[in-house]
Amino acid sequence: MSRLNTNANIDNVDDFYQRLTDLSLNLKTEEVMVRHAKLILLLSNHIGDNQVLNEAIDIVRDT
């Protein structure tokens, strides 16, 4: 079982962040939430490891 990696791990963060925030352009806030929810589900499935997912869920609940 592995731990959640909280060190920087994305090759080009500025490219990524622009793609991520462009998801919300010209949408209502609720429509953006739907996209973000789908994104969380896709990435969670990719990670797969329950311990890692639980660690991430704990962080967002506690911060």
Binding site: N7, Q18, T21, L25, T29, I59, T63
Partner: protein
């Protein structure tokens, strides 16, 4: 009128050109005596080209303009003979700190590789920079700096451009083989040529306040606050400048009334909320500004070359205005110098626009992204932004996502036609199309130097070869003969032989021996014995090879000149 700086107006002088029967032809006319036009004029003067600089005003620019000058700006200013003066007056800084609400969330260092001649940044008021460049230009008798000379018309044919200029004594015409339009964001030259600079206008307003305060506890660092208690819901930026002057930049939002916000009775409470009631300060200068990111499609218009803000504009976050402008003229002047000697191909002249458009695109992209992070485009992106900030304090991964300005570093001229791509693998951040990195050196000739010499300070105005040698046996008679042949090309290549130890050698005068005592040049360029780097006159790496070969070097130079 400023309390801390008195600008002496420059005298208008009438020149013989104004009463000539026919327009006199000059090799180069530069429009605009701002930082970029002046730097270009000094660069031409160093290369022995007489220049005429015209400016519609008669003083240096007053008020808050550019502040932050990056390492590459300083390296170029060194080549132009002004680096030391800028360093002496400027406030040196390398560290940036980012705060969210009450807390510092992280810091970053703008000079990750230490032991270079120049720091990551200095801060300096633009009027000092312009004053020093004017004084530097006045050292050259061949340079003619004409104040109160306003461009009112420009045309060109296959031989010359003709400029119509208005002065207090009436109008006159001069011809120029080449024109540099360094006349800023509202370039008159661009309008007279019916050319456009297109892009994006941002719906946000910022307040700049320059204040003088002597008693304070801020260090010489760049401090940026997201949502600080003293300016809730917005951002604030603080920079230290010389003469106890501080630049404060408050984000006001699009709905702010610029006329109201400009009033001292509205500015002073904002500053007091920031600094505390007990801190004494004088408000020196203020303005409310908006900005845009845009560029011209092509920076060359036949004989007219656009450089600096006339060609491209960015938001201030990232300090990419003046810093990219000086890179423009660094790129352009050596090419025009060859053109004036009849030694430049059309491809070489066109490469200016190709290379600097690529750089402008990178600068615009970075400065647009910073602006979008600082003032998110919608509520969802603001939530995302604030989530990044709140995670960044405890979780390292979020810190690189925080974008308070990606500060100016020179864009790499990647995949440009004049740059020879690698044919071997190099394990270094430096690549063809980058400016050469700096490192300390020891000179084999024992000159009377009291300060540490550095690699970049040794470079000259021509093409140069860095050749790494460890074993004197490598230095064969054939190699020396081939280096001699390189120094006799139409565009001479001067060789620098770099070794870790001092070698007991007597070298011909066309080879300079540099001792890389710290091993840092070798390390930073991932060089092996026999490895070569070919540098253009602007210190950009034209190509590199792991094994010296005269023909390879000649091919690289031919490509760099647009002849391949």
């Amino acid at each position: 009128m400023l309390n801390s700086y008195q600008a002496t107006p420059f005298a208008y002088i009438a020149y013989a050109d104004q009463t000539a029967a026919h327009p006199v032809t000059h090799p180069v006319v530069i429009i605009g005596a701002g930082p970029i036009g002046l730097a270009a004029a000094v660069d031409f003067s160093i290369k022995g080209v007489p220049v005429v600089v015209i400016d519609d005003n008669n003083t240096v620019s007053i008020g808050s303009r550019a502040v932050c000058y990056a390492k590459r700006f300083l390296d170029i200013s060194d080549r132009l003979g002004l680096g030391e003066r800028l360093i002496d007056k400027g406030v040196t800084w390398n560290l940036g700190k980012v705060f969210f609400e009450n807390e510092q969330i992280f810091s970053f260092d703008m000079l990750s590789e230490k032991q270079q001649r120049r720091p990551g940044f200095i801060n300096l008021q633009q009027y000092y920079l312009e004053q020093y460049y004017v004084e530097r230009l006045q050292e050259f008798d061949s340079a003619s700096l004409r104040w109160k000379n306003k461009l009112i018309d420009i045309s060109q044919d296959e031989n010359v451009a003709t400029l119509t200029i208005e002065t207090p004594d009436g109008t006159y015409q001069i011809n120029a083989q080449y024109v540099l339009a360094c006349d800023g964001a509202n370039s008159a030259t661009r309008k007279l040529c019916h050319l456009e600079s297109k892009g994006q206008v941002f719906q946000d307003r910022f307040l700049i306040a320059d204040i003088v305060m002597s008693n304070n506890s801020f260090p010489s660092e760049r401090w940026f606050w997201f949502n600080p208690p003293f300016h809730p819901g917005s951002s604030t930026l603080l920079h230290r400048q010389p003469d106890n002057m501080w630049r404060i930049d408050f984000d006001l939002g699009w709905d702010a009334d610029p006329e109201e916000e400009k009033k001292p009775q509205n500015i002073i409470p904002r500053i007091k909320a920031f600094l505390g009631d007990e801190v004494e300060f004088e408000l020196e200068w203020s303005s409310v500004y908006t900005f845009c990111c845009r560029r011209m499609q092509n920076f060359r218009h036949q004989r007219i070359f656009f450089a600096g803000d006339s060609a491209h504009q960015v938001s201030p976050f990232g300090a990419r205005g003046a810093n990219s402008g000086i890179e423009d003229i660094d790129n352009l002047v050596w090419k025009l110098n060859l053109a004036l000697k009849g030694q430049a191909s059309e491809a070489l002249l066109n490469s200016y626009s190709e290379e600097r458009v690529l750089a402008a695109n990178e600068n615009i992209l970075n400065s647009t992204r910073s602006t979008d992070f600082i003032t998110p485009k919608n509520a969802s992106n603001k939530i995302m932004r604030d989530a990044v900030l709140s995670l960044a304090k405890s979780y390292q991964f979020a810190r690189p996502l925080v974008n308070s300005g990606r500060l100016s570093v020179p864009p790499v001229l990647r995949n440009c036609r004049m740059i020879s791509a690698d044919t071997a693998s190099f394990k270094t951040q430096i690549e063809p199309g980058s400016p050469c990195i700096d490192a300390p050196v020891t000179l084999s000739i024992d000159l009377d130097v009291t300060t540490q010499p550095f690699l970049l300070s040794q470079l000259g105005e021509q093409f140069q070869l860095l050749l790494f040698i460890e074993d004197p046996c490598e230095l064969t008679a054939q190699l020396l003969a081939e280096l001699q042949q390189l120094s006799e090309l139409a565009q001479p290549i001067h060789s620098f032989m770099i070794s870790h130890e001092n070698l007991p050698l007597t070298l011909p005068s066309n080879i300079t021996h540099l001792i890389d005592h710290s091993g840092l040049i070798q390390k930073r360029l991932d060089a092996n014995c026999g490895c070569c780097y070919l540098l253009r006159p602007d210190q950009i790496i034209a190509g590199r090879t792991r094994q010296f070969s005269k023909q390879t070097i000649i091919n690289m130079q031919s490509r760099a000149l647009g002849a391949l």
